[in-house]
Symmetry: C2
Subunit: 419 residues, 2 copies
């Protein structure tokens, strides 16, 4: 309750409501919009026709009629959907081994992709933003989309992002700290840009894919080259006070535990991440500084195979990971009692090895009353979910901050008044 209510708010809210129904369920007829939003048919007509005039929505061409189900009688429906040309957005995923970019249209369909294998670790912090801007320019050139048609850029990174400042406060993918990213893109391309944590974007993607399931209070834990978490609280992804994400991976498990990439000792990541598993299994000292390079996929497959063969060092590495993860989850549950915990990422391939130890730790670490209401679920791969989530979030933002505002006609009139 912070904003005063007037006809302006009513318009914004109901336009948004209609757009949200469309984002969630895809193209639908006006009747269905009424069903989803609770608005009267009269209002739906008014609002949808304005959105169409504004170029945000469009009626489906009658050519590909629905034709699904038994042809019912009565006037046929006209499907309405987002106009793909309403706006474009760009999603960028930054990881240790390079950049991944995607361009999407107003419906969220991906028009073009681009990958670049830059090793970012030693990148000059002053130059990194420009590098990303150049990659985006190249992507747009390939798709022949002018930058003026792009409404927003979303950037997903591992580590702590400050979305207000548009910087990457700390990331395992970089030696440097406080690396500015947004500024270069906004200055060079003139497109608003937002930096966010990659695990948060997975959470965003999950909400987009199944609001029913992930819309309450849930935690998404990403296991792989690192350990990240996206937190969904009351249906929305939680971004901390400065926009920094939750750092489950760098939550302490045991004081004086193994050395983590963040420089502290005993973080969950220092037990569960790829490099940690390899370190245990190869018998290195736990104070051995972790490598800053990307770990080859084959190495992890080999480790899993070794564990499945019963090689003691490998088995014990996964046991330690399971215990650390279990106690980490127990602590998370004590603080937030989420109704669902999603384990995602390549690290979940070894879940069979991890799970028994995880469960035992969970049982030891939290009272039954709290544990009972939490459902733990494993989603093997979530790599592309990061891109999907980033696109989703960017489009929702455009919906809320631009499309919902209202009749362009009116704003044009106001501007003309001034001149």
């Amino acid at each position: 309750m912070r904003e005063k209510a007037d006809s302006d708010l009513v318009r914004r809210q109901n336009r948004l409501l209609l757009m949200e129904a469309l984002r969630q369920h895809g193209a639908m007829a006006r009747v269905d919009m009424g069903r989803h939003t609770g608005l009267s048919p009269a209002s739906i007509t008014t609002i949808s026709s304005q959105l169409i005039t504004d170029g945000i929505l469009e009626e489906a061409s009658a050519t590909h009629a629905p034709a699904e189900g038994p042809q019912r009688r009565g006037r046929p429906t006209t499907q309405i959907d987002f106009n793909p040309k309403s706006a474009n957005v760009v999603a960028v995923k930054v990881s240790i081994d390079g950049l991944e970019l995607a361009l999407a249209d107003g419906r969220g369909a991906i028009l073009a992709r681009r990958t670049s294998r830059t090793t970012t670790y030693d990148a000059d912090p002053a130059v990194f933003g420009k590098l990303v801007a150049d990659e985006i320019t190249a992507l747009l050139a390939k798709a022949r989309v002018p930058s003026s048609r792009v409404a927003r850029v979303g950037i997903a990174v591992q580590g702590v992002a400050d979305s207000q400042a548009g910087t990457l406060v700390w990331s395992p993918a970089f030696r440097g700290r406080n690396i500015s990213v947004s500024a270069a893109i906004e200055d060079r391309l003139g497109i608003p840009c937002r930096v966010a944590n990659d695990a948060n974007m997975i959470a965003e993607g999950l909400i987009g894919s199944d609001r029913e399931r992930y819309g309450g209070t849930a935690a998404v834990i990403f296991m792989g080259y690192g350990v990240g978490m996206g937190l969904i609280i009351n249906g929305r992804v939680y971004h901390g006070p400065t926009g920094a994400a939750a750092e489950f991976g760098h939550m302490n498990h045991l004081p004086d535990g193994p050395l983590c990439r963040c420089g502290r000792r005993g973080c969950v990541e220092a037990y569960v991440a790829d490099y940690s598993l390899l370190r245990w299994a190869s018998g290195q000292a736990m104070t051995q500084a972790p490598s800053s390079n990307a770990i080859p996929h084959e190495d992890m497959l080999a480790l899993e195979a070794a564990a499945h063969r019963g090689e003691e060092a490998a088995v014990s590495a996964y046991a330690k990971a399971g215990e650390a993860l279990g106690f980490g989850l127990a602590r998370l549950i004590a603080i937030l009692t989420p109704s669902r915990i999603v384990l995602a990422g390549p690290g979940t391939r070894a879940m069979a090895l991890i799970r028994p130890h995880l469960d035992r730790a969970l049982e030891a670490g939290v009272v039954d009353e709290l544990r009972r209401n939490v459902e733990i679920e494993v989603v093997p791969i979530a790599t592309d979910m990061i891109i999907k989530g980033t696109i989703d979030r960017a489009l929702r933002h455009v919906d809320r901050e631009i499309f919902a505002l209202g009749p362009l006609a009116k704003r044009v009139r106001e501007l003309e008044d001034i001149s």
Copy 2:
């Protein structure tokens, strides 16, 4: 964004906006309401006069004019405030050593109090609700307020409450579990009733007392006979999916650590709560079951004195508490990065003994980047804050769910239409 917007929503929202301004800043003139809410003078006149007709607000009697500041010219203001008779609420605090009750008027002023020293631990779960109902009846009789004038009862308890079911899922103050509370009060007195965690109510009280300071993302940690936490996320107190509170006290610190009242081992509470400190200091085994009785105040004062004298067992107990609390906070910060952590309750008396160990643990347990933005603050006593917070929450609820709805006149008209 879930509710459709129409004139009904506009009215509710703006009435609520006006009431919230009043709750936060106290009596004010119509001009000031305009300033706080952003509404035009015309609308303020309309809304406030309706609220006055509804008996929710009242104009201050001109007798005690403001007279503050230099008499300015122009038409003098008329102060408006809540009508004390608009509604009453009752707050009940349940703790190990008894019940504490308070009756408040529509402005939140306390009209009557009552305390009863019932030992609840072995109370019959089936009877407890009735016992509370009887106490409320006695309180109302004393104040000569009929129960029909009471709009809501709020109950604050230690432990896990299920506010949806109106039960006390688990509490250190009771041997039994799933104790029903709301039902008896709603059935016998006909007043809506809500059960909530006591630390959450402290958080509610803090928000009420200084929204500026506590309105963002903050954690309030209560240290005393137990350890509780109230979480404020984006300006509102977080109640988990089932209405259960955060259970920071029962977050694991070390696997296989000391036995806790909850039956698990190594909880933060098992290091920091009164009984835990005494157990360490008196040299008992850490697997010794904690006493379920209230601990005399004098025992804690004696322990503090011993530590200040430098007696080793006592000093080391506080050191262990500091370390556990520090790592607990470090884990909390990793998950949520609150911008403020408030330490409250009688346990903070010994903060000087605890603090150095707490700080050291905090440093070892969380990366600098996250820790830097957290302010830790100590508020010595917060006992009455629980009652204040409970009253506050009840009144806000009445504002939102009853007062904001709208002109009684209209609803009466509707009812007459039916008959």
